[in-house]
């Protein structure tokens, strides 16, 4: 298995920030990396496992994550513009104060993830659940949450976490 993403990291100079775009990563495993403040644009990750990766303060633009697993990943203070997360599992990961603009979580599951004080705008949640996750102080603007055939639209909320929690429990 080729780990193309890790090769990009290995080729960085000591203090160089990872700036990467227009790439597809397929079936890779990314372990134990610290790539804070990276700028990542137009990337597709398909069946990629992220484990113990620290992306703190990174910016992701037009990135797609499909069938990916995030375990013990730090996405704290990250900025996501037009992201798509599809069939992803996000476990024991830190998304505190992350900002998500214009994107989708579809068929995703959060397990023991910390989303405290994160922010979502122009975002859609489709069949996405949150189990044992910390959802305090989540801000939301122009959100659609789909569950089965029902769509709930939220114009603005400063405690969106309560709503997500209820949506996850209502089965």
């Amino acid at each position: 298995m080729e780990n193309k993403f890790e090769r990009f990291i290995e080729n960085l100079e000591e203090e160089e920030t990872l700036k990467l775009g227009d790439q597809i990563f397929l079936n890779e495993m990314i372990l134990d990396e610290s790539i804070q403040c990276s700028i990542l644009g137009t990337l597709t990750f398909f069946e990629v496992d992220f484990k113990r990766v620290d992306f703190t303060g990174s910016t992701f633009v037009n990135c797609e994550f499909k069938n990916c697993r995030f375990k013990d990943v730090i996405l704290r203070k990250c900025e996501f513009w037009n992201p798509t997360f599809e069939n992803c599992q996000i476990e024991r990961s830190n998304l505190t104060r992350a900002n998500f603009h214009k994107g989708t979580f579809r068929n995703c599951i959060f397990i023991k993830a910390n989303l405290t004080a994160s922010n979502f705008s122009d975002f859609e949640f489709i069949k996405t659940t949150f189990n044992n996750s910390d959802l305090d102080l989540i801000g939301a603007r122009s959100i659609k949450v789909w569950k089965l055939n029902q769509c709930t639209e939220i114009e603005e909320s400063s405690n969106f976490g309560n709503f997500l929690e209820n949506m996850s429990c209502d089965d």
Partner: protein, 246 residues
């Protein structure tokens, strides 16, 4: 609008949440094939990669932080500020309070916060005592000795990607990024009020917008205005400081 919530419920049949496709019923997770796990080369390769990574570890060392400190002093000197900031303070502020380790993001935050101190705007900069108050710093306002909380925002320059031949035509404009930052920061000012050792009001939270990374300096006035417009749209324009806009 802070603290307010408006819900509108609309029921739609057959949309993105439609369950008619049996394949879309359950989340499908990345399960490697059995062959892949049984293949010893798979693990050997992973081990090799892991070994390689240790050699190239990107964890921030104390040496790196000290170099950042020295660069910071030089920069402040160049700007004509009299700096009385010791190395141990810089090291402390460059430590991620959640992990107890140095990291790039914390160094960046420390540089911005300490530049405010060098400029004589604040004193006694430190990380908040209560980790639940998730703002970058707490400090005393130099003029009135009031406690303020500071959050440092970095403006991003997407042109650093186009330098590498990456197509950024579908990216948001810097202006819209700045506008959203200004708008979102208003909500953030109100987030931690009421927590122990937290800001008592939104007036105690200052957002610091740093334009250090914006290479086209003629763009900066437009971005500053965009931040203000965003804050105005969210109905709160106080507590905004710009850095590296000259």
């Amino acid at each position: 609008m802070v603290g307010q919530q408006a819900l509108v419920i609309v029921v739609v049949q057959g949309g993105p949440g439609d369950d008619s496709n049996p394949n879309s019923n359950t989340p499908c997770f990345n399960i490697k094939s059995l062959d892949q796990f049984q293949n010893s080369n798979y693990f050997n390769q992973a081990q090799k990669n892991k070994k390689k990574k240790k050699k190239n570890s990107r964890q921030v060392s104390q040496k790196r932080v000290i170099k950042a400190y020295q660069d910071f002093l030089l920069k402040m000197n160049k700007k004509g500020y009299e700096v009385n900031i010791f190395e141990d303070i810089f090291l402390e502020l460059s430590t991620n309070s959640q992990t107890g380790k140095f990291d790039e993001k914390s160094i960046f935050e420390a540089e911005g916060g300490l530049e405010l101190e060098a400029k004589g705007i604040v004193n006694n900069l430190r990380r908040p005592d209560n980790p639940k108050v998730d703002l970058d710093f707490v400090a005393k306002r130099a003029d009135f000795e009031e406690t303020i909380f500071i959050d440092h925002k970095r403006m991003i320059d997407f042109r650093s990607l186009s330098d590498k031949g990456i197509d950024i035509s579908g990216f948001p404009s810097h202006e819209s990024v700045a506008f959203n930052m200004g708008k979102d920061s208003v909500d953030q000012k109100g987030k931690f009020i009421g927590t122990n050792q937290s800001p008592a009001s939104m007036a105690e939270v200052v957002h610091l917008y740093n334009f250090k990374n914006i290479r086209n300096r003629t763009e900066i006035p437009v971005l500053m205005q965009a931040v203000l417009n965003g804050a105005e749209q969210a109905a709160y324009m106080n507590g905004i400081i710009f850095l590296n806009y000259e």
